[in-house]
């Protein structure tokens, strides 16, 4: 049963067609003999049906098309914009350095926090809560899309 617990991630990925190669073969073989995991797969499929929007319509009958005049409106707004730069802007080295430093910090935390009594390793697919929180934080930093904020980039570059 403990072995089955470790397969929970694989079951989800299998359901979403994201398990490949030998990992998939191993799981398929395991499913043949494990009723609990087959049940878990059924449960994930049930959840999928619960969340399903198969009856989705682009817009309910009788309601206005949300995309009516969309292209024209976008083009009007684009006409009001200055000509975009056709060549790529140089990317600042420091911006990459921020990303590398954040990744290095995360790695350091992950390695140093991996000396618990259980000895489990995140690479096994079992990430602890704190580590995941850190991962989320790192992603938030990444999501800030610093290069979009040109003024901030220039300001920080002067520091």
């Amino acid at each position: 049963m403990n072995g089955c617990r470790r397969r929970r991630k694989d079951l989800v990925l299998y359901h979403y067609g994201a398990l490949e190669g030998s990992a998939r073969d191993r799981l398929v073989s395991h499913l043949e003999s494990c009723r609990a995991c087959r049940g878990a797969i059924d449960e994930i499929a049930t959840l999928g049906r619960t969340l399903s929007v198969h009856s989705e319509k682009e817009h309910p009958a009788g309601s206005p098309d949300p995309l009516e005049g969309f292209r024209d409106e976008v083009m009007r707004r684009i006409e009001a914009l200055p000509q975009p730069q056709s060549a790529g802007r140089p990317r600042f080295l420091w911006a990459s350095a921020v990303g590398v430093a954040a990744a290095a910090l995360l790695l350091l935390v992950l390695v140093s926090s991996d000396r618990g009594p259980s000895g489990s390793h995140p690479a096994n697919g079992v990430l602890r809560g704190e580590e995941l929180e850190l991962l989320e934080e790192l992603e938030l930093i990444e999501d800030m899309d610093l290069l979009e904020n040109w003024e901030l980039v220039e300001l920080l570059d002067q520091v």
Partner: protein
């Protein structure tokens, strides 16, 4: 594409025509608010046009555009959160006309008020469960489940490693399973 990269506005219009439906759908599902989705989709196209010089052709224009759309929607969530809408991307917005809740299958007969109430409860539970996912998990789950993107494509759109996408997808499903356990059909 060469004309678009050179700043040709009319050529960009062809791309708007081609991608507007997909970008709108993505903005609608990510924001869970059809009323704001049109503005968000427009913002994505404007951002794409302004930054066309940064587009690297090997990524594919669609992938790049979807990435911009996801970023626009993530900014939207943050603004909603800043303005006190703690369940941005879910809750009331999701219940609105055309939101995820409204688009969930309603197969209950009108003559059965009890079943209708149960279905309504389920739709709210789904919206709430989706809203409680982290922005990254929600984006990944919506891209995979509702837009049927593959892991590799999601990784390209979000600029993440495939392994990261898989971990987040697993965690999203685990969270949804837990939260929706009492509503299993």
């Amino acid at each position: 594409m060469a004309r678009v990269c050179a700043g040709d506005r009319s050529a960009f219009g062809i791309l708007v025509e081609r991608y507007q439906k997909k970008v709108y759908r993505l903005a609608r599902d990510l924001s869970a608010n059809p009323e704001d989705a049109r503005d968000l989709a427009q913002e994505a196209f404007l951002k794409a046009f302004r930054n066309i010089g940064r587009f690297r052709k090997q990524a594919g224009f669609g992938t790049w555009l979807f990435r911009i759309t996801v970023n626009v929607c993530m900014d939207y969530w943050r603004k909603q959160k800043t303005h006190g809408f703690s369940s941005a991307g879910g809750g009331k917005a999701a219940e609105g006309p055309g939101g995820i809740v409204a688009r969930l299958p309603d197969t209950t007969p009108a003559s059965n008020p009890h079943a209708q109430a149960e279905a309504s409860q389920l739709r709210h539970a789904v919206a709430g469960a989706l809203a409680e996912l982290s922005p990254t998990q929600r984006s990944i789950f919506i891209l995979r489940h509702y837009h049927e993107m593959g892991i590799r494509e999601i990784a390209s759109v979000l600029g993440r490693a495939e392994g990261t996408i898989k971990v987040h997808l697993f965690r999203a499903v685990a969270s949804l399973r837990k939260k929706l356990a009492p509503y299993r059909c």
